[in-house]
Symmetry: C2
Subunit: 329 residues, 2 copies
C-alpha cells in the first residue's frame, strides 16, 4: 500500500510530495476497502501543494481530490455493495493512493462499462464547466459563449457540454500549436489570443452579442476577453494560468456595464443541496460513461512516479491531463 504524502508546502510542488508506504486501518462498520484505479492531478491539487489554494488541509496530508476505484473488500454492514463494483471516490479524500478505506455511504456507483481513466476526472472539471455555463447567465440554444484556456481540461468539457445544450463557443488559446488539439476535442471555432481578438470575434459571430465569457488566464487576457462581451455581459473567472492578476480597464467594464464574477467549485459544494449535487454527478457520469464527454490524457503514472507526475501537471504547454494509475507497475 503506497500513497503520495506531503508534510510541508512549497513553491516547487514535486519537491514536497513523495510516495510512502502506509498501513491500512481495519474496516469498521459500513466501510469498504477500495483499490484505486485512477486519480487525476488537477491545477487545484498543484496549488494545494504550493499553498496557493483557497482551502488547505492540515499537514501531513495525502494528495488528490477525486478518482475512481473498485470495491476490493467489504466491511461489516455493507451488504448493498459488491466486490468489483466501480465507484467514484469521495471528494477531497486523498486519492493519490493505491488503496483507501471509505465509508460506503459516501461512494457513488458508476456505470461498469465506463472507462476508469475518464470517469476518474468526473468530480472536478466537468461540474466546473457545467455550472459556469448554467449558474450565471440564462443562456438559450443558439447563444454564443467565449472562453480562453480552451486547451485546458475544463475548456474541453465546456466545449462538449455547450454543444450538447445547443450553445456556440468561441475558443481562445494562447499558442497556435494548441489549435488542432482543441478542434480535435470538438471545438468548431478556435482563435489564437491577440490584441485584435475582439475584432476577429465580432467577425466570426457576425457581431452577435456575447453574454458570457469564461476566463482562466488572467493578466491582459482577461481584458481582451472582456472586450468581446456585449453590453451587460458577465465574465466568470476560475483560474489564473498566467500567474498575473486579472486586468480589466475601467473603460471596458464601466462603460459597458460588465459583471465580473468568480467560480469556485468547492464553494458550490458547500452551498448546493446534496440533491442538487447528486443530480449534477448523475448527469455527467452518464455522459462520461457513454463517451460523450471526455478529456485528453497526456500521460499516466504509477504511484512511485508521483513526483514526475506532479512536475508534469505543474508544467506549461500540456496538451492533456496527467492521471495517476496508482497500482500501475
Amino acid at each position: 500500500m503506497k500513497r503520495g504524502e506531503y508534510a510541508s508546502r512549497g513553491p516547487v510542488p514535486q519537491e514536497v510530495i513523495s510516495a510512502k508506504e502506509f498501513e491500512l486501518p481495519s474496516l469498521g462498520e459500513g466501510q469498504v476497502l477500495i483499490e484505486v484505479l485512477a486519480s487525476p492531478i488537477n491545477p487545484s491539487d498543484v496549488l494545494t501543494l504550493t499553498g496557493e489554494y483557497g482551502m488547505l488541509p492540515p499537514l501531513p496530508a495525502v494528495g488528490g481530490n477525486e478518482g475512481v476505484g473498485r470495491v476490493a473488500t467489504l466491511g461489516p454492514q455493507t451488504d448493498a455493495w459488491a466486490i468489483g463494483e466501480l465507484v467514484l471516490l469521495p471528494i477531497g479524500s486523498g486519492t493519490w493512493t493505491t488503496h483507501m478505506v471509505a465509508d460506503a455511504q459516501r461512494l457513488i456507483a458508476l456505470p461498469p462499462q465506463g472507462d476508469p481513466l475518464q470517469l476518474s476526472m468526473l468530480s472536478v472539471n466537468p461540474p466546473t464547466a457545467l455550472l459556469m455555463l448554467r449558474e450565471f447567465v440564462d443562456l438559450q440554444p443558439g447563444d454564443w459563449v467565449i472562453q480562453n484556456a480552451a486547451n485546458s481540461a475544463v475548456g474541453g468539457y465546456l466545449v462538449q457540454i455547450a454543444a450538447s445544450r445547443g450553445l456556440k463557443t468561441v475558443n481562445i488559446v494562447r499558442r497556435k500549436s494548441a489549435v488542432d488539439a482543441v478542434k480535435a476535442s470538438g471545438a468548431e471555432h478556435v482563435l489564437v489570443d491577440g490584441d485584435d481578438l475582439h475584432e476577429r470575434v465580432a467577425e466570426l459571430t457576425s457581431g452577435a452579442k456575447i453574454r458570457l465569457g469564461i476566463d482562466a488566464v488572467g493578466g491582459m487576457a482577461s481584458e481582451r476577453l472582456a472586450r468581446c462581451l456585449g453590453q451587460a455581459g458577465t465574465m466568470v473567472n476560475y483560474g489564473g494560468m498566467s500567474g498575473e492578476p486579472c486586468m480589466l480597464s475601467p473603460a471596458t467594464f464601466v462603460f459597458r456595464d460588465l459583471h465580473l464574477r468568480g467560480f469556485w467549485l468547492a464553494q458550490w459544494f458547500r452551498t448546493a443541496t446534496p440533491e442538487k449535487q447528486f443530480a449534477v454527478f448523475r448527469e455527467l457520469a452518464l455522459q462520461v460513461a457513454q463517451g460523450e464527454l471526455k478529456a485528453r490524457i497526456q500521460a499516466t503514472y504509477g504511484i512511485d512516479q508521483i513526483r514526475d507526475a506532479v512536475a508534469a501537471a505543474a508544467g506549461d504547454e500540456r496538451d492533456g491531463k496527467i492521471v495517476l494509475e496508482p497500482n500501475k507497475g
Copy 2:
C-alpha cells in the same frame, strides 16, 4: 458671449479647447436665456476632451456637462419662470459658456439661497456617490463601506452621504498629505494605501465584514481594496485614476466569491425613469443648498482662462474641484 469650444480631441486636453466668441440664437417658444454662474470641470469632461470617455459628442462641441445659472431673459410662453431665478442647467448641454439658450422645461429651479458654486456640482458627482451606495448592496445603518480615491469630489460626497445614512466609511488615499483634507470633509477614518491595507482595515473595523468597496483608482489599488471585502462582497469601480487597468487576483475574488461591477452615471440616466431621476436631484439639491453636502473647491476660473482651468483639472494632486465662473473678470 464666449464659450469653451473644441474641434478635435487629443491627449493634452487643454490644447484642444479654447474660449471663442459666439452669437446667441434668438429665443424660440418656451426658451429662456440663462447667464451661467458656475460649471465644474469633472474627470469625465477631461476624458471627453482626450477621447477616452464612453460617449463622445460630435465635433465641434462646447465643453461642460453641468452647472447653474440665472434666468436672464424670458422667451415666448415661459410664464412659469422669473428673471433672476437660480436654475440647474440641462445635463450635457455644453455648460462652459457665459450664456446659453435653454428649453425652460428642461430646467430645474434651485433653492435661491443656495451657493451657486456648490450647486453647480450637483448633477454628476453627488448622484454618483449616492447611487453607488444604494444600487448594488442593501446596506443597513451601522454597516461599513470602503472607498479609495477618498480625496476626490465623489469621495467627499460619499463620506457625507454615507454618514447621513448611518453608514461608516473607511477612506483610502494615496498620499499622506491628503489625509487632513479628507478628514476636513467629514471623514473619521482615513488610511494611506499600502500592501498591508487589509490588515489595518481589519484592525480599524474590528474585523467587521465589509460588503461594499468603491474603487476609482485601478491598478493594484483595486486588488488591495478587494482584499478588504468580506465573503461575497461587491466592488464597484467608477474610474481609473492610476491610468492602469483594475488588477484583481483570481485568488482574491474566486475564493471569496467577490462581485465586480462598474458604475456609470450616464448609463443610469439612460435607464432610470424621469421620476426616479427627479427624486434623486430633489434630495441632493436640498442637501447641497443647506450646506450638508459640499465639495472642496481648489480654484475658479473665468471663461478666458479655460485652458488653464482644464490643465488644472487634468493635473495630479488636486485637493479640490476646478470650477468655471464663465462671467468672472
